[in-house]
Symmetry: C2
Subunit: 226 residues, 2 copies
Amino acid sequence: MAEDLRDKLGAQHLPLRDQVLAALRTAIIDGDYLPGERLTEDRLAEDFGVSRNPVREALRVAEAEGFVVILPRRGAVVASPSSGTIADMFAVRERLEALAARLAAERATAADVASLRALLDQGREATQRKDLARVAELNSTLHLRILQISGNPWLSSIAKSLYLHVQWIFRLGAAERAPHSWAEHIQLVDAIESGDGDRAERAALDHLDAASAAAYENAEGGYAAR
Amino acid sequence: MAEDLRDKLGAQHLPLRDQVLAALRTAIIDGDYLPGERLTEDRLAEDFGVSRNPVREALRVAEAEGFVVILPRRGAVVASPSSGTIADMFAVRERLEALAARLAAERATAADVASLRALLDQGREATQRKDLARVAELNSTLHLRILQISGNPWLSSIAKSLYLHVQWIFRLGAAERAPHSWAEHIQLVDAIESGDGDRAERAALDHLDAASAAAYENAEGGYAAR
DNA sequence: TAATTGTTCTTCGTATACACTTTGCCCGAA
DNA sequence: TTCGGGCAAAGTGTATACGAAGAACAATTA
């Protein structure tokens, strides 16, 4: 939200709680902690080699972000994305990413576009190398970059959080749609470069529709709503 | 996010941290703690009559929600909504509330519509009584109710958070547009009742545009971007 | 004046203690 | 066997204390 303030003064300390939060997020996204799994404070503290306090603080934020559910007096449990909430998530994401694409188209500088093109190139190359993990990573980077170019911190922060959840679902669903979606990405960047907000928004929607359909299928297979 | 789980078992305990968080939020929204004001843990702990631990946990969540900014090793400060971020916020809110209106139109039951109508009636009455505080409150309730009817928990949770920020800005801007906006609300509920998603979305956008313009003016007057 | 040194205030993290719930298990009764 | 009760273990919620490290600010010195 306030990245502009954050790095103002010698504040590169990275508190333990933030490290724990990051580790917890990736552990959940990577499936190290599975949906429904119980997360006791002591255990997390031990896993991460810290005391209970940083863990508790990280858990509260993770709850706010929707990665865990906290039952009072019963503790934290890894959230279970049901297929219902997946559809809901994409409905929101669609609106938000469309807005991001429009804003990016309206505000992108030549340098911004160049950085997107560079990502596209790397993506094409990685696709040829069949390095799927790298493609997925570049995929994320591209989306995040567009959010950043949109210049709207609210949008950026909210969509970023949603995006993490998408990754989570995809990871669990195990399928990699990344290479296939790369053509859509090129359309999107072209549209952003053109400066045509309507066109960019349409490209984003097309892309999201396809991604949503794919994610939905995967999730249907991999999950049962609890 | 998971209200359905939350109240499953005897979990009406309401931990201190949640009470503190709620109190902190309202204190900030009500202007008891002003933007830029420093919030030391000791002070908050004393203000709320609790130990520092619940305070710290509440602060982390408040940060995630954008109410405070935490500078590592320097502590928490009440966030300062600049006019820039206000515009950004409304841009996001516009998309989200439009989606909410559409979904509500598509999913609302007769009982849902009736509850909205009831709120509208109470609003009209309160307007006649010139009870502005009550009108503002009903305003919030109406919007929140529509979000709930939309049946999309992500949408609901995100928009709810944004809505709190809107209230914050309005409160600080001191102006009350509420009565004037009531006509727009009627349009919105009519559209939802009609079940016409497009029409509902359009009504929401019209309403948001007007509200945004008003908020923006107020904020311009009441603030200087820091 | 500018640089340096102290001092103080706070945060950050650890550790500990303890009340109170929840859970799980064992055991006895139907 | 199954059900219910009771008991102990586990784990959260909260408070408290303490030490280390950083930041802010004032005082001191060059």
